[in-house]
Symmetry: none
Subunit: 259 residues, 2 copies
């Protein structure tokens, strides 16, 4: 791994609940030498990618990111492109579908739709981050997003949201392993009671998993047939979204799905 990647990966340690990070914290997180980390932080800072809190001496993300994100969104409206696929499958499956991207520590919802009216609905807040260990999106990401993400998740405490949240490292590892073998992740009442969800990974160019597409429905509407139907369609949706993003499903997963 080159110097540039090492520096850029430092930015990934920032998240909503870890918005300021000090030099020695970076050193622990990254495992790099302190002098190395410091110089990388200096370079990131001089380019506006991070800035330093003058009082605490800790670092936070910088304003340059805002401009670049603005350009990206205005020139490549990913959200619009994805919404077409999400809308289509929400109609086809009659349930809530969402695409979420990995955020450094959580899954960050990009777009969701729940277009068929039902008596009961899954509550979905697009501004709320989804925990990795307690949602199907998170589990799918942990399975297909690379070992670093799983390691980082296991290094932090696993907050319990319901009685059924995976809260031990062993249970989480087992679920991730199962997701890896099946090619999709499912989660029953891990985050919200009475909610069941299934997720498949979404890949951008160079076969890198950047997020997931997931369906969430009340447990009461779940049957074996609907589950099978959902899994079949999520695989298609995943392929379409990946294509939209200029990526494709890795052949290893395609073969897995074909079984």
């Amino acid at each position: 791994m080159g110097t540039i990647s090492k520096a850029l990966k430092l930015l990934n340690y920032f998240s909503i609940d870890q918005c300021e990070i000090g030099l020695s914290e970076f050193q622990v997180f990254s495992g790099l030498n302190k002098a190395t980390v410091y110089r990388h932080l200096c370079e990131l800072q001089s380019n506006g990618f991070i800035e330093q809190n003058v009082d605490s001496k800790k670092y936070r993300l910088g304003p340059s990111l805002l401009r670049l994100a603005t350009v990206r969104e205005q020139t490549f409206p990913m959200k619009v492109a994805i919404s077409i696929v999400v809308d289509k499958y929400s109609r086809k499956l009659g349930e809530l579908v969402h695409v979420s991207l990995f955020d450094g520590a959580f899954m960050s919802p990009l777009y969701h739709a729940d277009l068929q009216p039902h008596g009961t609905r899954v509550y979905f807040n697009e501004g709320e981050l989804l925990p990795m260990h307690a949602t199907s999106s998170g589990l799918a990401m942990l399975a297909f997003g690379g070992a670093d993400i799983l390691k980082a998740t296991l290094d932090k405490p696993l907050k319990k949201f319901t009685g059924r949240t995976l809260s031990t490292r062993a249970a989480l590892k087992k679920q991730v392993q199962q997701s890896l073998e099946r090619g999709f992740a499912s989660c029953s009442e891990g985050f919200e009671k009475e909610v069941f969800s299934i997720a498949t990974p979404v890949f951008e160019g160079s076969q890198k998993c950047i997020g997931t597409i997931a369906i969430a429905l009340p447990l009461s509407r779940l049957t074996n047939e609907t589950e099978a139907n959902i899994i079949t369609n999520l695989k298609l949706a995943s392929t379409e979204v990946s294509k939209t993003l200029g990526g494709s499903i890795p052949t290893s997963i395609v073969e897995l799905w074909a079984q």
Copy 2:
């Protein structure tokens, strides 16, 4: 300049009207060796900071930026806070107002508003970096941002955008000196023809100048009275924005303004 900075500066070539850039274009823009540029682009790509259009082989900004910008705004909501002040003064003065931050080499627009309709409008591209020597924002930053920034700017060639762009070191130094004495910077047709602008510095905690607030209007609407009115209001706006950022206008400048 380290490898990391060289790579990050490649991202600055992207803008709203230059959203896809090829390898050889990067080579020309940056003046770096092609192999160097290529490897840097690969590393940026593997971290999601850029991605490649599979058809044209050109590069565009990547989705990681969206995530990082989201974290930044959610944990340090500078843009939202500032937009309130900018909107207010755009209405009050009836012209385009923007806040831009120093980026390491350019002024990077953070937010702009042009809320009163006019027959003629100043074209403002929020994704485009503003040169230091050719805009009022840049001049104000050079005057109040510390000697290092001025030195760095003087070390590089001063690109001529119009017939009236300051393109000699002596002329630039003189303008910066004048801005320092007056407490604000003005610039007539330095970047775009027929556009006049005035800028005042914005300070965060510990009295460090991190950017500017500026107004831009067609030369045809400029009169002595409007200019005086703008200057008075920009001083107020600058104070408000600085306060929003947890800073304040240094007493030396407050005294200057009071004269």
